[in-house]
């Protein structure tokens, strides 16, 4: 039963590919590379509420990249990296708030190959570091990152390696200590919606 399920999950696109995928399962491991960009809603925290009282918003721009290698069946293992930025001038007036976040770590995704693409569940663990500043002299703080995302990718080509385009909905948490002496607890994470570009073979 389990091998049959794996055969059902593994195929790609057309019937020929589906057969090839089934044969490849034991002999050739698949790989998936993704890049993505989108918008992140900053996680709720006491310090974020303080920043909002100052007139600053609650969105970041987010870029991600990842590379996964097949372990067996739908189980993959991979690495990811992310960059999140915000440059925010408050309403009505004030200095520009700058935030730069870097992160990376390991992911153990489940990639389910369906008729026209891939559906993925991607749990993640890693480390992230961020700098929050008004005058480009802010101190960085780091935190453990925990999160995950749901991804749907539509294959755009049938040749191998296959190119695809999709969307992802995800969230990660990275709580950090107060970034300043009168600051409050803060979180470098948040929920996000991103457009995903993919190539897999």
């Amino acid at each position: 039963m389990v091998p049959e399920l794996l055969l059902a999950l593994a195929p790609l696109g057309s019937g020929e590919e589906r057969g090839a995928g089934a044969m490849d399962l034991g002999s050739q491991r698949r790989w998936i590379a993704r890049t993505a960009m989108g918008i992140q809603s900053i996680a709720d925290s006491d310090h974020q509420r303080l920043l909002e009282l100052e007139g600053y918003g609650h969105y970041r721009a987010l870029w991600q990249g990842s590379f996964d290698r097949q372990l067996s069946g739908p189980c993959f293992v991979g690495v990811f990296g992310l960059v999140a930025l915000r440059e925010d001038t408050p309403n009505p007036w004030g200095p520009e708030l700058s935030e730069r976040i870097w992160g990376g770590g390991l992911q153990i995704p489940l990639h389910v190959f369906v008729e026209s693409g891939i559906l993925s569940i991607v749990p993640r663990v890693g480390f992230t570091s961020g700098v929050l500043s008004l005058y480009d002299e802010g101190a960085s703080s780091g935190a453990l990152l925990l999160g995950g995302e749901l991804v749907g990718v539509q294959s755009l080509t049938t040749a191998t390696p296959t190119v695809g385009l999709g969307v992802a909905l995800g969230i990660y948490y990275a709580p950090v200590p107060p970034p300043s002496e009168i600051g409050k607890s803060y979180d470098l994470g948040g929920a996000y919606l991103i457009v995903v570009g993919e190539i897999h073979g």
Binding site: D46, H47, R49, L50, L51, L53, E54, P92, W93, G94, P95, L97, L132, S133, L134, Y135, D136, E137, G138, A139, P179, S180, E181, I182, G183, K184
Partner: protein, 192 residues
Amino acid sequence: MDDWCALGSVLLALAGCGSSYERNSTPSKARLLDACEPSSCAINGSARSVSGITSDSQGFVIGPGPGRLRIDTGESGMQGGGSAMWFVLTEGRGSFQDADETNYEVPSQYAWILVDVGRQGWLTLETSDTHSVVRVADVRYVIHHEDDCRIARGGSASGYVLLLAVLSWLLVKGRTPGLPRARHSRPGSRLP
């Protein structure tokens, strides 16, 4: 005239056609705490300078224990005959007093507090007991140019209809509107 001006501001805001109060108000142009120098921000007792909303900005903590923060309000300048309203973004516990010894309760979560500066020329935040702690994240002022009161352009038709209806009713009733002007706002009011 001032009363009609205040009434017009409120009615226009309620009617959704834009408040002339907002149009005639000038916010302070800097994070005043970040520009603090010993000559413009004086601290005494338990008051101390700390990092503000970011590690590279400035804030203040007063308490526990008696302490005082005084900020020179000269920059607001009362330009053009306007009146300045001073707001403090603060949290902590207990209470503080201003220069006139008016008592303000400190919110447990950060909130904007309208503080009366009076004619002292200084914004004063002072704790006198051993319990109170006041964390100050920001200070801002808004100058309201009262002489510039006018009906804002671009309002919706329903707004003007509502305004005319209320004014007509007031005239028929023979009442004189007596809404408090902004500069008479009570200390402790929150910034909307």
